[in-house]
Symmetry: C2
């Protein structure tokens, strides 16, 4: 079997990244592991997140992946450097690609970031942006209402728009902000509402799209893009309820997912 | 001195790439070599382009660059694989970043490419796009009038718009084309005219911006982003008239370039 791109996430959010990998790299196979049983990682201690992440990584290494995508903001913040140091395959996280795309896009150097409480309070996006350009002004905002909305499937209509619009009000005072990073893998599901609330002068950057783009960059750079004629395969594993996962995956990926395998990690 | 990013080009076109490197990576130093005396490379035989490119590469390797950017479409098409194979530092070309950004942006998978006669007839963009996704429909068009316009400084006003609009007519029949790649490093200087001629439904992708983005991706991936507090330095070398180069560089980079050094390449 051809080598796949491995994607790990604390749950279903990383499916927006997998969806973009499938769209932008249609020759590549993808194996996805969602640790839905122990989701969310945000409130967990750092050591626990590192341990759970490694359990998913070992599971995928046994399946001979050629690249690892850490499609979880919390896991990226806590494990990216260590994974890059210890693994022989390339590792890409979800924070840096979105940050870089924002820098490319922004001509005012005033950039907004929205995410969960955990991601925003970690300061990971601010650090990444400032590491590249200290002069960038970053406006960040935690949006704790968004993940529950998306997980309940309320991704369009008046109720969803109201919630999104209300939440984003604090960002509207920054007239020079021309770019907004969706710093949570759930948010691409409500990207249109966010765009509508922010208005046409703000470009909304989806980390899923940008992560897939950088996976492509690094695969090509390492001469590891798949060149053959075999069809791609997509495999999904979850630590929690596989039927729930299958339903969400079919909806988010906009294609019928026939099988999700149960996986037991840890202990 | 801190290690710089080296940029090579057949002439002045690559300054749009240098300009984006300076904007997106303001901590990094840049050394630019323009082979203005032997410009353009497009009509030259492959072996000659390879030889000239290596002459610039050796010149920069002596200056201890940490990364090489081949900011010339012709040189990228002929030398990228060989340079990557033989050099120990990372090498980025201008074709792949634009192609990848177009794939990320396009939701119809119908993509336009404009460039010089040489670039379009080489098929390099079509090959790169199809290598990643065979299903992409590519519409390419050579625009031989654009480089002379830019080099004469006719980058706005009615005459320039007329020329751009007339030239792009053949692409307007493709209603599903949602993305257009500027496959020539001169074209960002007339990006606004091209955008106006194509209308608001087409996203115009500038290879300069996207190349700088991928330089950032690969420097971060290789842990080579500059982390210190020294100010960046910018050095410019040209094989042809240094005063002409200095004037164009000051204009394109929108900053005063005080000195351009003469360099003699080749036997």
């Amino acid at each position: 079997m051809k080598q796949a791109i491995g994607v790990i996430d604390s749950g279903v959010g990383g499916l927006t990244v997998a969806s973009e990998l499938i769209r932008q790299l249609p020759k590549e196979s993808v194996i996805y592991v969602g640790d839905t049983k122990r989701c969310p990682y945000g409130p967990r201690p750092k050591e626990e997140v590192i341990q759970y992440t490694w359990e998913m990584v070992y599971f995928l290494l046994e399946r001979n992946i050629k690249m690892l995508v850490v499609a979880c903001n919390t896991a990226t913040a806590f494990t990216l450097d260590e994974l890059r140091e210890k693994l022989e395959i390339p590792v890409v996280g979800v924070i840096q690609p979105g940050a870089r795309a924002a820098i490319t896009n922004s001509h005012t150097a005033e950039i907004g970031v929205i995410g969960t409480e955990g991601t925003i309070s970690s300061g990971a996006y601010v650090d990444t942006l400032k590491q590249i350009n200290t002069a960038i002004e970053v406006y960040d905002l935690a949006c704790p209402r968004f993940v529950p909305l998306v997980e309940k499937g309320i991704v369009s209509g008046e109720e969803a728009y109201q919630a999104v619009n209300e939440t984003l009000q604090p960002l509207k005072q920054f007239n020079e902000m021309d770019t907004l990073i969706l710093g949570c893998t759930h948010y691409p599901m409500i990207k249109e509402l966010i765009q509508e609330a922010m208005g046409g002068n703000v470009t909304v950057i989806s980390s899923g799209e940008e992560t897939a783009r950088e996976v492509s960059t690094i695969l090509e750079y390492q001469d590891k893009l798949y060149q053959g004629n075999e069809s791609p395969e997509y495999q999904f594993y979850a630590t929690g309820d596989v039927e729930v996962f299958r339903r969400i995956a079919s909806q988010w990926l906009n294609r019928a997912i026939d099988e999700v395998e149960q996986v037991v990690l840890g202990g």
